[in-house]
């Protein structure tokens, strides 16, 4: 019996949370839901509109491309799968939603009130070595794409 060739793990990646992010011509975005009945917007697509309780009225909308940093911390006691300290924060989006996300761990990105833009980045590896990707914000001036 032969087993399939092991993939090169550094080439394998998958989303850390299914349905959290998407990508279009405008770049990476967070998947939001917008209620066709009342217009309420959520992070993630939900079955029931939290505001008007209508079911099946939420349709996908791109949110979270840009925001401002509300607060941040650098995590040193690492959760499972992380190899070095990393920065996280709350990013306030224009549509009133606040999202938790990784932030580029550099002084120009960790500025409360500072403008940030979204990227998709490998956040950690799972036990098989697969890179798990998710939202990471950085300063538009920090030169990354």
């Amino acid at each position: 019996m032969t087993s399939p060739a092991a993939p090169e793990n550094n080439l394998v990646e998958q989303p850390i949370w299914t349905g959290l992010m998407g990508r279009d011509e405008g770049g990476a975005f967070l998947v939001g839901g917008k209620c066709s009945t009342c217009g309420f917007t959520t992070l993630g697509l939900r079955d029931i509109c939290p505001e008007c309780w209508a079911q099946g009225t939420m349709t996908e909308t791109a949110i979270g491309r840009r925001g401002r940093l509300y607060t941040y911390t650098v995590i040193h006691q690492l959760p499972h799968g992380y190899e070095e300290p990393f920065a996280v924060g709350y990013v306030d989006l224009d549509d009133g939603i606040r999202v938790f996300a990784h932030i580029e761990n550099t002084p120009d990105c960790l500025v409360i009130g500072g403008e940030l833009e979204l990227t998709s980045a490998a956040l950690r590896r799972d036990d098989t070595g697969t890179a798990l990707t998710g939202p990471k914000y950085h300063s538009p001036n920090s030169g990354e794409t």
Partner: protein, 379 residues
């Protein structure tokens, strides 16, 4: 609330928190029950019902504990409200007597825990993205520093105070004094929180016996009354809310003061949920012990130290006692009852007449429970 019967705390018992690696949770809990029953001077046939708090101990913990002490077929309710479970159990017990359903009720909080970061059973997207319990309190602290100029030292001073108090309390687990420098330079956990600013996991138990005014009259010594208890919830859902203020703490405190007919200025002693030093400072403001943004001044002036205006966590708090989740909220009441009776040898707050217990729990800053209870000393 109107027409409630007066309820007092007749007995308290604690099994000081530690590891207890080779001890079953039922065996950890039973000595706390026995101590509370003896302190109250009552027997198992005097108890009408029991409310039992835990988070990770499986089904019907209360029944498992009490069958080993040959309790009769009483009403038992097991309660989960994250780290506020213990105080929630006390509140349910209080209400069950106050509303006339029961005359004497046993409250138990018990937990047996392992090491490291708490593993939440139902991780949400934030936890999946790497958020941790200390990080959540660090995020709130960082915003507080930004808005009010609060220094990292302000939080660290709470760690120093906690150990000083613990050095006076034989029930505390970490009793060696720490300097400000030792707290500041201990291992970084989530900036600005360092190791000595985090509570540790623990195992242990605490128990209370609550009863009607008639039952309390039969016990010698000063009575301790529950004047009010309010339970509020954090229900934020990705909204842009003020993280420098734990809203549910403010809501629960406001309600508890109102129902007790007092104000924050009437409180003589506080046991509050200091899972992290930053939480304690923010709770000072949420409980109204000082104005918003005044937390650093309060701790720097020594107002919340033993001998100060309103001593906070004289037991050593979660920081120096460790944190067996379901037991923590119940243990706060043990300390406050000893203080109100005047029995807190070596750490007694002089002439303590009105006390406040506060605990907070949840899977994050977004969803959780906060309970505030006001106690007074009778005659």
């Amino acid at each position: 609330m109107h027409g409630l019967r007066r309820v007092g705390i007749l007995g308290v018992g604690i099994v000081p928190f530690d590891k207890y690696e080779d001890v079953l949770v039922e065996d950890i809990a039973r000595p706390a029950v026995i101590a509370a029953m003896k302190d109250a001077g009552v027997g198992r046939t005097d108890i009408d019902a029991s409310f039992v708090s835990h988070l990770y101990q499986g089904e019907v913990l209360g029944q498992r504990i009490l069958k080993g002490l040959r309790f009769p077929e009483i009403t038992i309710t097991n309660i989960e409200n994250a780290c506020a479970g213990g105080s929630s159990a006390v509140r349910e017990a209080w209400l069950s007597i106050a509303t006339g359903e029961h005359d004497m009720v046993l409250v138990i909080g018990a937990e047996k825990m392992g090491r490291g970061l708490i593993n939440f059973v139902s991780p949400d997207v934030e936890l999946t993205l790497g958020n941790t319990a200390p990080a959540q309190y660090a995020l709130a602290a960082r915003r507080h520093m930004h808005e009010f100029g609060t220094s990292p030292e302000a939080f660290a001073k709470i760690g120093v105070k906690s150990r000083h108090h613990a050095s006076l309390n034989p029930n505390a687990r970490f009793r060696d004094a720490l300097t400000l420098d030792e707290v500041m330079t201990s291992r970084p956990i989530a900036d600005p929180i360092t190791l000595y600013q985090c509570c540790r996991n623990g195992s242990g138990a605490a128990a209370l016996v609550l009863g009607t005014e008639e039952k309390c009259a039969a016990r010698p010594g000063p009575s301790v009354w529950i004047e009010s208890s309010a339970l509020a919830s954090v229900m934020a859902d990705k909204e842009q809310r003020d993280l420098t203020s734990f809203g549910a703490t403010r809501t629960a405190a406001t309600q508890a003061y109102e129902e007790a007919g007092i104000g924050a200025e009437d409180i003589d002693i506080v046991e509050l949920h200091d899972a992290f030093t930053t939480g304690e400072l923010l709770h000072y403001e949420g409980l109204g012990l000082c104005a918003k943004g005044g937390g650093e001044q309060l701790v720097s002036d020594g107002d919340t130290s033993l001998g100060g205006r309103v001593p906070v966590n004289v037991s050593g708090g979660l920081l120096s006692k460790s944190h067996p989740l379901g037991a923590t909220g119940v243990a706060q009441f043990c300390e406050l009852v000893w203080q109100l009776r005047g029995d807190a040898e070596g750490r007694q707050v002089e002439d303590a007449r009105t006390a406040l217990a506060h605990s907070q729990g949840g899977t994050g800053l977004e969803a959780g429970a906060t309970c505030v209870t006001v106690l007074t000393r009778g005659t």
